[in-house]
């Protein structure tokens, strides 16, 4: 559970960074000068933060109770 959740957060973080960088912040198409969705750059930052937040989740998630 711990590892799965951590990896999921890391992947989600990188995914957010990827789609924001390449698709949501008007990077390569000169037609658009503003981001295509509001606060897209904040999503990129959120992606970076999610990756590092995964470390906190990995350490803080309680162990499964052994009966």
């Amino acid at each position: 559970m711990r590892t799965v959740l951590t990896i999921a957060m890391v992947l989600l973080g990188f995914f957010l960074q990827f789609i924001t960088y390449f698709f949501l912040t008007a990077p390569w198409d000169p037609v658009y000068s503003n981001p295509r969705i509001p606060f897209a750059p904040a999503l990129f930052i959120l992606g970076v933060m999610l990756v590092f937040l995964a470390a906190v989740v990995y350490e803080l998630l309680p162990d499964r109770q052994v009966q």
Partner: protein
């Protein structure tokens, strides 16, 4: 648990009279900085010495941007040292690990504050940055990725690294027990938790090192990829920024480590080996940066355009010469002082000893003269003519140099003192270099047919920067009054 009063380690929770006086002084300076900022907000950016490039003959970036670069540079050392300790098992450096992590976080907060101080409408600037910024731009990398991503990563590292100590501190009865319990978040120091922590810090260190190299390089790219601005457009900007960041950050870390060694009851844990290791690293980085400077200057002087040559001339013999040669002198002398320990022991012992009273007196004289000249430079007083001021500046420089030369025999025998002096010298040089990177290209690097510009910081800019330094010192000292500056040992645990 026994309710016996037991002093917390590393001076945590102890507020002596001297410490309270220090707090009062720092708070006073912070309040003065806030007053200057309020004045700037109320009167507008016209109170700064910044003006439009070309049409108004000024510079649009000045002291604030120079100090953004400086503070981001200082932050480099902290997390680098912490990551290097983890990656290469440099356990003898562990006593400075937390000092370095806290230095990173506070330096990044100060860097962000400098950005805010530079904005006429700070709130609008911050909101629009997250609404409209382009992650492809180096500005985004500098002002938001560095400050939010890098700061967040450093906070995570500090938090996780401190959990074990928080758990140990929570076992002692104190007013901060609840805070430590919250920080520890159920940590019990079991083998499984320790192994997990080892894995996490390894991965964090591996992730943070490329992030910080990217962050410092993008800061260099802000200047380095501007082809329309002679003096900035250079391949060496990015690596130069990374190396100078290391120089200023490690220099400051050496100063902090020496202060902790002197002031803490357990100060001897910050052993001489740490100063030897960090001093060697600082020496190496300083020499590399000097090489970069020479390579850059030779290239622009031999093959640069007319505009680049003009900037180089203003640095070497023009109006910025005093700052340029002052910075070079700081770096060279810093390297020299750090090299003293490589002298053979018999040479060190043969050096004549001088009473420390003389260098101190000479230094006080140099500082007094510098202070007077600085006040005159800000138009607050004007007792000297321009020629007298130039002469007095030369006298101050000679006095400071003489003080250093007389201290050399002592510094060759005292590694900690040598590290502190070198740390101060390279940091002053790094501040000078940051101003030289930011300002001359705007005042002397116009491709359009404008005359040369002029920039002089006003009292409000200087007060805000001094206030930020005081804020940093205040946050740093307060943090280490509520959390141990070094790892709590097993015997401390047993004492609880």
């Amino acid at each position: 648990m026994a309710e016996q009063p037991h002093a917390l380690p590393y001076g945590v929770g102890r507020f002596s009279h001297r410490f309270l006086i220090l707090l009062a002084v720092l708070t006073g300076v912070v309040v003065w900085g806030l007053f200057a900022y309020a004045h700037q907000l109320a009167e507008g950016l016209v109170v700064k010495g910044l003006r439009d490039i070309g049409t108004m003959g000024g510079a649009t970036w000045g002291l604030y941007v120079a100090f953004v670069i400086y503070f981001v540079g200082v932050s480099f050392a902290g997390i680098t040292v912490a990551a290097l300790i983890r990656l290469f098992h440099l356990d003898h450096l562990r006593p400075v690990s937390r000092m370095a992590e806290a230095l990173t976080i506070i330096a990044l907060i100060l860097a962000a504050s400098c950005v805010v101080a530079d904005l006429g409408q700070p709130l609008r600037g911050i909101i629009n940055l997250f609404r409209y910024a382009r992650p492809q731009s180096p500005f985004f990398g500098t002002f938001s990725l560095v400050v939010s991503g890098y700061l967040f990563a450093s906070l995570v590292y500090l938090y996780l690294d401190g959990r074990r100590d928080a758990a140990l501190m929570a076992r002692r009865p104190s007013r901060l027990q609840g805070f430590y319990r919250l920080w520890a978040a159920g940590y019990r120091d079991t083998p499984a938790e320790r192994a997990r922590h080892e894995r996490v810090t390894l991965w964090l260190a591996l992730a943070i090192v490329p992030l910080l190299v990217t962050a410092h390089s993008t800061l260099g790219f802000v200047f380095g990829i501007q082809s329309g601005r002679p003096g900035w457009y250079s391949t060496l900007q990015a690596p130069g920024f990374v190396v100078l960041a290391g120089v200023s950050g490690i220099g400051l870390l050496l100063i902090i480590a020496a202060i902790m060694r002197v002031t803490l009851p357990e100060g001897k844990e910050v052993h001489v080996g740490i100063f030897r290791w960090l001093g060697t690293l600082l020496l190496f980085l300083t020499v590399v940066y000097l090489y970069f400077m020479v390579a850059e200057l030779l290239t622009t002087l031999y093959t640069g355009t007319r505009h680049e040559a003009e900037i180089s001339r203003s640095l070497l013999v023009g109006e910025y010469a005093w700052l340029f040669w002052g910075s070079v002198t700081g770096l060279v002398l810093g390297a020299l002082v750090l090299s003293l320990r490589f002298l053979p022991t018999n040479v060190q012992t043969r050096l004549p000893s001088v009473s420390p009273r003389w260098p101190v007196l000479l230094l006080i004289g140099a500082l007094l003269l510098t202070g007077l000249l600085a006040l005159q430079g800000l138009d607050l007083i004007s007792p000297f003519s321009a020629t007298t001021a130039r002469w007095l500046a030369s006298v101050a420089a000679v006095l400071a140099l003489l003080a250093l030369v007389l201290s050399l025999p002592y510094l060759s025998r005292n590694l900690v003192a040598a590290s502190v002096i070198a740390g101060i010298l390279v940091n002053l040089a790094a501040i000078g270099k940051r101003i030289l990177i930011v300002v001359p290209s705007q005042t002397h690097g116009n491709l359009l047919p404008y005359g040369t510009g002029w920039y002089q910081p006003t009292w409000s800019e200087i007060s805000i920067i001094v206030g930020l330094f005081a804020l940093g010192a205040l946050l740093y000292t307060l943090f280490f009054k509520i959390f141990p500056v070094m790892e709590v040992h097993a015997h401390e645990e047993g004492a609880a």
